[in-house]
């Protein structure tokens, strides 16, 4: 086994959070190693205008999905490779609302975060600036923002115009979405050219994935980012302190070697399935239930967003494939409304699946196949789709555990993911789908159909103020294991009704600052 010299920090997973951590720590002069299970993509040579081929961006290793409402795991909820799922995500860059951080106090559901919106606000500002988020001049929901978005919004695309028309007719407030693709040049990155292949990997670098922003800058700052490294154990010493990680490294010729990287600080940023999986796989005689798991909450409380899509057919072509699918948004239904039969709320956003994905959704929902599917697809350009980001509540029954008998190609136990909606979640989903349908019909849709879908992963290693009810503290430091930090979407306490990437990145930026400050105080 190759053993590398000790560094200041090793980050497991160079995605939405990991890339931010690696860059910020390297900028501060830390010796940092980032390990990612997938490749280090080159967008100009590795990305193709080919939907099927680009499914290589997803995490497609074997996993078991279960529960009453099993979620699709081999699709866009996770990513593999430097940049993680930000390489193929839909780019909505939204903040959580202030209420999301205190749902227990306000609405009697979920738990309050150990952080407030005000704690994260400067980091939201920082990440938006670094990524060059293009957003509307004003954000009419939640409390006012301190700063404008750094870049101006993109123009409406066909689906955006449909949604705007429908919202206008119903008196619903809408805005062009705040999205992570440039509307004007930034450094050597050009503005978006509206190809519409964002979910298959952007070939122009206009999309502000962490692959072309934080990760690239991290390399320039001296960080060592190693692709094709599958971490399978967080190592601890006799005192129980995390001292590094052990991983399988796949060489270009396909051979696999085991290596070890020692570090003063270990940060796990592998997202809501692989993070708990790694902690559970790192069980030892000292930590028989897995690392950082004295609360028993590692792998529990997994949340998703109910993301049902309603499509409407319009007499005129809408060209849903054109321009970035994230285009227009409303958050009028975000907060708890006493008139509803559910608590919390949802956002409605435009979507724009490419033909392959659209055909897949239509075939599975409408039961079309062969000739009927072919006939249906002639109208592809006439359809506009609105997607939901519906909040779900954390339940301990939803989560990740290790399969007792199935292993992956490395011989590691595969994760078993269980998910079931609560009754409240279902009522929220139905109400959201009804609003989506009404908007489309108000815009002139001739027919509509609803597709069940889910998006995003959150929770499974939640943060808190009490070691009994949480896995990490407000600074993402594991309660049980010194030298171990968990920093990604798995620390979410509630899901909110906003796409989570920006909050993940803001938490990572804050954690990096906390680490740097702790390092200066010699308190690591």
């Amino acid at each position: 086994m190759t053993s590398h010299d000790e560094v200041d920090a090793v980050v497991v997973g160079v995605g939405a959070a990991g890339a931010v951590l690696v860059r910020k720590l390297a900028d501060a002069g830390w010796r940092v190693v980032g390990l990612d299970a997938g490749p280090h993509w080159d967008p100009q040579t590795d990305f193709l205008s080919d939907e099927r081929a680009m499914s290589k961006l997803f995490w497609r290793d074997r996993r078991v999905t279960g529960g009453d409402d099993p979620i699709e795991l081999a699709g866009n909820v996770t990513g593999k490779g430097v940049g993680g799922s930000t390489v193929h995500y839909s780019m909505y860059a939204l903040r959580l609302h202030r209420s999301d951080f205190e749902t227990r106090t306000r609405d009697g559901v979920g738990s309050d975060w150990p952080l407030s919106y005000e704690d994260l606000e400067p980091y939201y500002d920082e990440v938006e600036r670094e990524l060059g988020i293009a957003g509307p001049v004003d954000w009419p929901w939640d409390a006012p923002r301190r700063h404008r978005y750094p870049y101006r919004p993109h123009q409406l695309n066909g689906v955006g115009e449909v949604m705007a028309r429908g919202c206008d007719a119903l008196g619903i407030t809408w805005r062009p979405g705040a999205i992570a693709t440039l509307s004007a040049p930034k450094g050597d990155r050009p503005p978006c050219v509206y190809r519409g292949w964002c979910l298959s990997g952007c070939t122009t670098n206009a999309k502000s994935s962490t692959l072309v922003t934080y990760a690239e800058e991290a390399v320039h700052a001296g960080a060592d980012i190693r692709p094709h490294c599958m971490v399978h154990r967080v190592d601890t010493d006799a005192t129980g302190r995390a001292i590094g990680v052990t991983y399988f490294r796949r060489s270009a010729d396909g051979t696999v070697h085991e290596e070890r990287q020692r570090a003063r600080v270990v940060i796990v940023s592998a997202y809501s399935i692989e993070t708990p999986r790694l902690l559970l796989m790192s069980a030892s005689s000292r930590y028989p239930d897995g690392l950082a798991n004295s609360s028993g909450l590692v792998g529990k409380g997994l949340m998703i967003h109910g993301s049902d899509i309603v499509f409407g057919r319009f007499p005129e072509p809408v060209s849903q494939f054109k321009a970035p699918p994230p285009n227009t948004i409303t958050q009028d239904f975000y907060e708890t409304d006493a008139a509803n039969d559910f608590v919390r709320g949802y956002s409605i956003e435009t979507v724009g699946p490419l033909p392959g994905k659209f055909a897949q959704l239509a075939a599975s929902t409408l039961g079309l196949w062969g000739e009927s599917l072919r006939e249906f697809m002639y109208d592809y350009s006439h359809y506009a789709g609105l997607g939901l980001v519906g909040e779900t509540q954390a339940q301990d029954g939803n989560g990740v555990r290790l399969s007792p008998d199935e292993t992956d190609t490395f011989g590691l136990p595969i994760p078993v993911v269980t998910f079931s909606y609560a009754d409240d979640d279902r009522r929220l989903l139905d109400a959201g789908a009804d609003t989506q349908r009404r908007i489309l019909e108000a815009a002139g849709a001739e027919v509509t159909f609803r597709v069940s879908d889910t998006a995003h992963l959150m929770g499974a290693c939640r943060m808190g103020n009490d070691p009994v009810t949480s896995v990490v503290d407000r600074n993402c430091r594991a309660w049980d294991v010194r030298g171990l930090y968990i920093c990604d979407g798995s620390v979410f306490v509630t899901s909110g009704a906003a796409n989570p990437s920006l909050t993940i990145q803001a938490i990572a930026a804050r954690t990096a600052d906390q680490l740097i400050a702790a390092g200066r105080r010699h308190e690591l």
Binding site: P136, V137, D138, P140, P150, Y151, R152, P153, Q155, L156, E161, A164, R165, D168, T173, W174, P176, S183, A184, P185, K186, P190, P191, V193, T204, N205, A206
Partner: protein
């Protein structure tokens, strides 16, 4: 580049040149040259923008078709020193002001008809991605310059008796700047002032406009100097702006490569647009030059 009047052969007096002093004849020829060049350049911009808009309305063809005719008449007028084509150029310039006025109204309607028009806060967003709000006013300005370059002495005399031509031009420059400034301002805001140079016209054009306006009400020598500086700076801004816009095209994906150029030309910073400032500045300089020559 211009011969002294005494060196020139006597020319047949026409309605264009007859009755004017040599200085005024020269100034009118220069204005015809500037108007023609600006009109031709604006045509390129107009064609690009209306093509990008897919000629969704038939009205969008009108300036695209009319402008080459105006520019051609202007060219004949300029080249012949007004002995040919001046009357037609004047008539067409008058028509151009009408086209520009209709265009201006239609552009505002285009903006106000976009989704979200009932929300005042969406107005700026709609202006960013609707038809350019003040662009037709540049057309209007050029039409007026064409008229000034061709108006018969009999029609001009009552006005010129009260206000000398250089002060008229100062007022004209001052009036042209607010819509130009507004257009540059909101379009550079759409670009998020990502290049600090985008602030240059936004911050300095109002100063140039104010200087021209103040100079329009004065015969003092300092007014002449101020107006000259304002016009010179306006022209220089146009040159710099064109350079920056050409550089901006290079920064877009594909830059000047053959497969990308048309897309970038249509969607990137409008390369010919800043040249309108060159035209406006040169017209002002020509008027000030006429003053200094008496």
């Amino acid at each position: 580049m211009f011969m002294k009047p005494s060196q020139r052969r006597p020319r047949r007096a026409t309605e264009f040149s007859g009755g004017w002093s040599p200085t005024m004849r020269r100034l009118r020829t220069q204005m015809a040259v500037i108007t023609t060049a600006s009109t031709a350049l604006l045509w390129v911009d107009n064609l690009s923008e209306h093509y990008r808009g897919g000629f969704q309305r038939k009205l969008m063809y009108v300036p695209v078709v009319a402008n080459p005719v105006v520019a051609a008449a202007g060219a004949v007028t300029a080249v012949t020193g007004g002995r040919r084509g001046a009357r037609l150029f004047g008539l067409l310039s008058g028509a151009q002001t009408l086209i520009a006025t209709v265009g201006f109204i239609e552009h505002q309607r285009g903006i106000l008809n976009r989704p979200g028009h009932h929300q005042p806060r969406q107005l700026l967003f709609n202006a960013w991605y609707g038809p350019p709000s003040a662009a037709p006013l540049q057309y209007l300005g050029l039409g007026l310059m064409g008229l000034m370059a061709t108006v018969p002495p009999s029609a001009a005399a009552p006005v010129l008796a009260r206000i000398p031509i250089h002060r008229l031009m100062r007022a004209f420059s001052a009036l042209n700047i607010p819509p130009l400034w507004g257009e540059i301002g909101y379009l550079h805001a759409r670009g998020a002032f990502q290049n600090p140079a985008q602030w240059l016209p936004v911050l300095t054009l109002p100063v140039a406009g104010a200087m021209s306006a103040l100079a329009a009400i004065s015969e003092a020598d300092t007014a002449h100097k101020a107006a000259t500086a304002a016009s010179g700076w306006t022209a220089l801004l146009g040159v710099l702006g064109t350079g920056f816009h050409l550089y901006g095209l290079h920064r877009r994906y594909g830059g000047y490569r053959r497969g990308s150029f048309l897309f970038n030309w249509l969607n990137g910073p409008p390369a010919p647009a800043p040249l309108q400032m060159v035209g406006l500045g040169l017209a002002g300089l020509a008027a000030e030059r006429a003053v200094s020559r008496g």
